[in-house]
């Protein structure tokens, strides 16, 4: 019983964290790209990282919180333009390779020793450099902790209730925005592009412009996800690499692409399942067979195999509609 108790406590803690919210927001962004427009953006982690850099560096150099957010969004827009203009016209897998390459460039350059005064190099920008600007906006008490059931977190500082509230409110707001957008004529054109680009073009729509708009919008959501992600830790380039992108896809495909709540449900389930596997393996597999270092690795192996099985046997995920499958060739 103790084990079950701690397991469900872990589940709840994981569901609440701002990290899960950050993944959900980034996955909503990828849902616009991949789920609704059929664009294979494999550089979402790059959008998150460049957004986080724009945000943290602006605040660090005294620009204030709102300018930081603005710069974060602008950085994502610029990144989307640079990426999209050469590749959106090409076939899907070209976009995939270019976006993954561009995201890697951001990560490698960000971690470069030459940029250390700006980005902090591989060590990154410490949270204390930019988090106070966010915490100053909090309407909760500035110090002290609050306990809800088994969960005790600070009101405002660090990995706080304030951050959780903001993160999950943003998730809900973005779900609402995506819902409104996708039932608008604009959203119908995006779906049309996903289904048959040539048909949409023959109706006189500028497919390139729509694809760019989709790339920018989803990328901006990636940047917001990146901001939330770094607000509980630091801006470390290596924490937002390729694997992060792949995990965002895993979340999206698990929940169901081209559905409003799919990315959110996927992010929640993904983290809950992973912590469930870790807890179970830690509890029931003797350490002679699997030591404490191998348990998280085992969980990752399960994630990889799970992604394969998911895409093969249930490509529409949990909430998706098979008729709206984003995988077209």
């Amino acid at each position: 019983m103790d084990f079950l108790n701690s397991l469900f406590t872990d589940f709840g803690a994981q569901i609440l964290t701002s990290g899960t919210a950050a993944f959900a927001i980034a996955a909503i962004g990828v849902n616009i790209h991949f789920g609704y427009t059929g664009l294979l953006n494999f550089g979402q982690a790059g959008f998150m990282l460049i957004g986080a850099y724009g945000f943290a560096i602006t605040i660090e150099s005294g620009g204030g919180f709102w300018l930081g957010v603005l710069m974060s969004l602008l950085a994502a827009v610029l990144f989307a333009l640079v990426l999209g203009i050469p590749t959106v016209k090409l076939r899907g897998d070209y976009l995939a390779i270019v976006t993954i390459a561009a995201a890697e460039i951001i990560r490698i350059v960000g971690g470069n020793a030459l940029l250390e005064p700006l980005t902090g190099g591989v060590a990154g920008i410490l949270g204390s450099q930019f988090q106070p600007a966010f915490q100053a906006l909090s309407f909760l008490p500035k110090t002290g902790t609050f306990t809800l059931g088994p969960y005790t977190y600070p009101y405002t500082e660090g990995d706080s209730w304030w951050l959780r509230i903001v993160g999950w409110s943003l998730v809900l707001i973005f779900c609402l925005i995506v819902w409104l957008l996708m039932r608008s004529p604009w959203g119908r054109v995006l779906r049309g592009i996903r289904e048959d680009e040539d048909a949409v073009r023959s109706l006189g729509k500028n497919v390139f412009a729509y694809k760019m708009q989709s790339l920018i919008l989803g990328g901006v959501l990636g940047a917001v996800g990146g901001d939330i992600f770094v607000l509980s830790s630091s801006v470390q380039p290596d924490s937002l690499g390729r694997t992060t992108t792949f995990l965002i896809y895993t979340c999206l495909l698990l929940g169901g692409a081209a559905s409003i709540f799919g990315p959110v449900l996927g992010a929640l389930l993904y983290f809950v399942l992973r912590i469930g596997i870790t807890d179970f393996a830690g509890q029931f597999i003797p350490s002679s067979i699997m030591n404490s270092q191998q348990i998280p690795q085992f969980a990752w192996i399960v994630v990889g195999v799970g992604l394969m099985l998911l895409v093969i046997f249930r490509p529409q995920g949990i909430l998706g509609n098979k008729k709206e499958l984003a995988f077209n060739d």
């Binding site: 090409l90 897998d93 690795q297 192996i301 099985l309 995988f327």
Partner: protein, 447 residues
């Protein structure tokens, strides 16, 4: 029908052509390897356990020659300093029994004259039961008996340019070995295989298992590794990719399946081999010859050239090779003219994974080890190479790889070393801007 029967029987008997070829080659070249010639003498030992950690390093000059008789001092967080003098291998090691911040410094007055050290002391965070390596970057070079080579700045720079170019050729050849498979699979099935990186890593890991752990002869271990890698290609196509093609899974869907496979394999390697690089052999060789490389590098390049030529001849001259190119050009037409497309694709998978395994073995030997993430680092270089050369064209992959290899290594002359992969990726994006079909590709493929 006649052609179909013919190609079927041929593909049946030729299934193992490549691994066998590679095996013969390695056996032939074996006679040239001076294995064990430079077995190390009196290496200080330290093995990490629950109460011990090893702070260690090797002092090497620009030519990777050991720098002997240099004092290295360790300053622990508490307690007295320790000093050690490097032996003939240039190695130094301290056993420590407390975790914390340790400072390691090299006494520059004991360095041979003419050798310089940019940073003479480093601070390391050491955890128990671990190896804490500290690298010191010594510039200048000396002969093997310890005399410093005096050279003018210009000739040193030219030497460096030449060296970077040579390592570029080496990297290019190794990437070519790996990326031809990636390109062939793409050409025949349309799949961008993200798990190809892990096939390269697999080569290094299996090589380590057979040579490093089981202690087999390097050649035998390499041959077994390549054969096993090729076998994984056969099994993958038989049990995963073949059935999925029959199910009619879309290409993007398949691509995400390969990403899942790639994640699973990466962590499988970490699970079994840990996070540190593993080496097939502990032999440290000296740089020699016109390219200033280790003998094993020359050998690897020779093997790569021979195998690449063999693959080229196979594709151009043999019936089954022509059938492969036919499938690559137009699958439906190839099938209509009696080529057994599924058999060709299976053969392509075998060749692809076999070559990737060989590339992994050679890369591990050249670089002195393979890590779970090494293949991953190479994957984007491979994608850059095949895109530059023209997606799906085997010869394009070769051209692209050589260019990427040389550019990546030469960029070291003007940019810092950690940016070299970024250079390749910038090229990739520029190519797509200017000539999306690549150097040897054709326009209609990109639409």
């Amino acid at each position: 029908m006649h052609f179909s029967r013919l190609s079927r029987s041929r593909s049946g008997s030729k299934k193992w052509v490549l691994p066998t070829l590679v095996a013969l080659l390695l056996a032939f070249l074996a006679t040239f390897i001076p294995v064990g010639a430079t077995a190390s003498a009196a290496v200080p030992t330290c093995s990490p356990d629950a109460t011990t950690a090893c702070v260690r390093g090797t002092l090497l000059d620009d030519d990777s020659n050991a720098v002997a008789k240099v004092s290295v001092t360790l300053t622990p967080p508490t307690g007295p300093e320790e000093t050690e003098v490097t032996g003939s291998t240039g190695q130094w090691v301290f056993s420590v029994h407390e975790k914390g911040q340790y400072k390691v410094s090299v006494d520059t007055s004991t360095l041979p004259k003419g050798l310089k050290l940019a940073v003479a002391s480093k601070t390391l965070t050491v955890a128990l039961s671990s190896l804490a390596p500290a690298a010191f970057d010594i510039t200048g070079s000396q002969t093997s008996d310890g005399h410093v080579v005096q050279q003018s700045a210009t000739s040193l720079y030219l030497l460096r340019v030449w060296q970077q170019f040579a390592s570029g050729l080496r990297l290019g050849l190794l990437i070519a070995l790996a990326s031809i498979g990636l390109s062939l699979v793409y050409g025949t099935t349309g799949l961008s295989n993200f798990a190809h990186a892990e096939q390269v890593t697999l080569g290094g890991m299996l090589g380590f298992t057979f040579a490093g752990v089981l202690g087999l002869n390097l050649i035998v271990a390499s041959v077994i590794t390549v054969i096993l890698c090729a076998l994984t290609g056969y099994l993958q196509d038989k049990f995963i990719w073949g059935p999925l093609r029959k199910r009619g899974l879309g290409l993007n869907q398949l691509m995400i399946v390969t990403i899942g496979l790639s994640i699973a394999l990466e962590y499988t390697y970490q699970y079994f081999y840990g996070g540190q690089p593993v080496a097939m052999t502990g032999i440290i060789q000296q740089n020699t010859g016109p390219l200033y490389m280790t003998p094993i590098s020359y050998l690897s390049m020779a093997i790569a050239v021979v195998v690449l030529v063999a693959v080229g001849l196979f594709l151009l001259k043999t019936r089954i090779g022509r059938a492969t190119r036919a499938v690559s050009d137009n699958r439906a037409l190839a099938a209509a003219s009696g080529i057994d497309v599924d058999r060709i694709i299976r053969l392509v998978w075998i060749i692809s994974t076999g070559l990737a395994g060989l590339a992994g073995v050679l890369y591990s030997l050249v670089q002195g080890g393979m890590q779970w993430s090494t293949g991953l680092q190479l994957l984007l270089l491979m994608f850059a190479a095949v895109t530059l050369g023209g997606l799906g064209t085997a010869f394009g992959a070769l051209v692209g790889s050589m260019i990427i290899g040389v550019v990546v290594e030469m960029s070291n002359l003007v940019l810092s070393a950690d940016l070299k992969y970024a250079t390749a990726l910038v090229i990739l994006i520029l190519v797509l801007l200017v000539r999306p079909q690549g150097i040897l590709g054709r326009r209609e493929r990109i639409g």
